[in-house]
């Protein structure tokens, strides 16, 4: 077992983990952050996406010990109190989810995308979300949601 200290959604967690523990498993089973889901288990689908030191990563392909000393943001830490993050608001307004399984990952990938490019074109949104699969195939509204989120955040879609 190894000791880790990770700030998750603004709170510091100290834990003993087996080195083989994947970040997503620790988030879900270790500290109850079950908003982050496991989709494909093979780093294809992006459902498990979280922000690791501000950058979107697939948490099924990072070890928990690798997050030692880092900051992780999950879908559960995105809202500011009762105030949703604009990307969350946009997904609700534009019906950017159907079954909702891919949504936590989609939202966090979109947050990273808009941080880099506050004014993305539709093509740039689609390219930016290439690592996130929606098995309902609800991509159209997801893209609309991200474009609307850009507007809400003061950028706006090209």
């Amino acid at each position: 077992m190894q000791h880790i200290s990770v700030t998750v959604d603004g709170m510091e967690y100290n834990a003993e983990v087996e080195p083989r523990t994947l970040l997503v498993h620790w988030l879900r089973n270790g500290i109850g952050k079950v908003g982050t889901v496991v989709g494909c288990d093979t780093s294809n689908c992006g459902a498990c996406t979280v922000l690791l030191d501000g950058r979107s990563v697939k948490s099924c392909s990072v070890l928990a010990v690798q997050a030692n000393g880092s900051e992780v943001t999950t879908i559960q830490g995105l809202a500011d109190g009762n105030e949703w993050h604009p990307v969350q608001t946009a997904f609700k307004e534009c019906h950017g989810l159907q079954c909702g399984y891919c949504t936590p990952g989609m939202v966090l990938a979109a947050v990273d995308l808009l941080g880099e490019n506050p004014n993305p074109s539709e093509a740039e949104i689609r390219e930016g979300l290439e690592g996130n699969l929606c098995r309902c195939t609800g991509y159209h509204n997801i893209v609309k949601s991200v474009a609307y989120a850009a507007e809400l955040m003061g950028g706006g879609s090209k």
Binding site: E18, S43, V57, K58, S61, V62, V65, Q66, G131
Partner: protein
């Protein structure tokens, strides 16, 4: 739920520390770079290292710089950094064109140049770029460093010249003023490995090709390159006929197998056509078109 087999883990504090850890723990230890090949393999228990040596904190392995007449990429430069690098794009458009079609943004955030090169997947896109540009890699061990041309680096699928107690530290590419370059890939779906990819650079001077490199991946071209096609083009005008002939010679260097990504004759066709398209664009770019 897929979980890797039990393993130990340590963060290296320097390249020499990583090397001493490799020596201490022997062949059952593995370097952990981006982890986006190794961890999936560990989850499937295809890989079962007993010790992971994490090199993510080694700043000495990061950074893209110009050193004399070479571009130097630290082994831990991420795919995202290659994609977004202005200096790489300034010299070779091929870097941006290739990286854009490697995996997806999330994987590119973690995956590294050194990791991809050392994983040495026979369908690795960067291997075609490295061979096309005649890059080299710097490998460090306890007794010092050595430089190996990328056209001698691969010993077979997933096998390279990096010995168990060695670590790749840099990838270097010669700068060629006036070179145009391009990358063409066909994949079954976005973010997938290629069915076939071709990457080339061409230098056209006074209407003649004075220098060129042609790389191919996923089609079992030896060392990911097509030397006969390159030799054919030198001294010739980049006309449609000549570029078509070179592309045919490149396809002759391919020896693909039929598999779930497609039948061998289709891949051979792609090697030809993609090489041609890349040559056309690279030659045009070299001539300032």
């Amino acid at each position: 739920m897929q979980t890797p087999a039990p393993t130990d883990y340590v963060r290296a504090t320097s390249v020499s520390h990583a090397i001493s850890l490799l020596e201490e723990h022997g062949e059952e230890s593995r370097i952990l770079a981006g982890g986006h090949s190794l961890l999936p393999m560990m989850k499937l228990r295809i890989a079962r290292p007993e010790m992971l040596i994490d090199i993510n904190e080694l700043d000495e392995l990061r950074g893209i710089r110009v050193d004399g007449d070479e571009l130097v990429l630290g082994a831990m430069v991420t795919h995202r950094e290659v994609l977004e690098s202005p200096v790489l794009f300034e010299h070779y458009a091929i870097f941006r064109e290739c990286e854009k079609v490697i995996a997806d943004p999330l994987v590119r955030n973690r995956g590294t140049v050194g990791g991809s090169m050392c994983q040495a997947d026979p369908s690795e896109d960067l291997s075609a770029v490295g061979s096309a540009l005649r890059g080299s890699v710097v490998i460090q061990g306890a007794s010092g460093t050595r430089t190996v041309p990328l056209r001698e680096f691969h010993e077979g699928p997933y096998e390279t010249q990096v010995e168990p107690a060695e670590i790749m530290t840099e990838v270097r590419f010669p700068i060629r003023p006036g070179a145009g370059s391009a990358y063409e890939k066909v994949e079954r779906r976005v973010g997938d490995w290629p069915v076939c990819s071709a990457g080339v650079y061409v230098v056209v001077s006074d209407g003649l090709v004075t220098d060129c490199g042609i790389g191919l991946t996923a089609v079992s071209a030896e060392h990911f390159c097509a030397p006969a096609a390159e030799a054919f083009l030198i001294g010739k005008a980049p006309t449609e006929d000549n570029l078509r002939s070179a592309a045919q010679l490149a396809a002759d260097a391919a020896d693909p197998s039929s598999d779930q990504r497609g039948p061998a004759d289709y891949k051979k066709h792609l090697a030809n056509e993609l090489t041609y398209r890349a040559l056309v664009r690279a030659a045009a770019a070299s001539q300032g078109a």
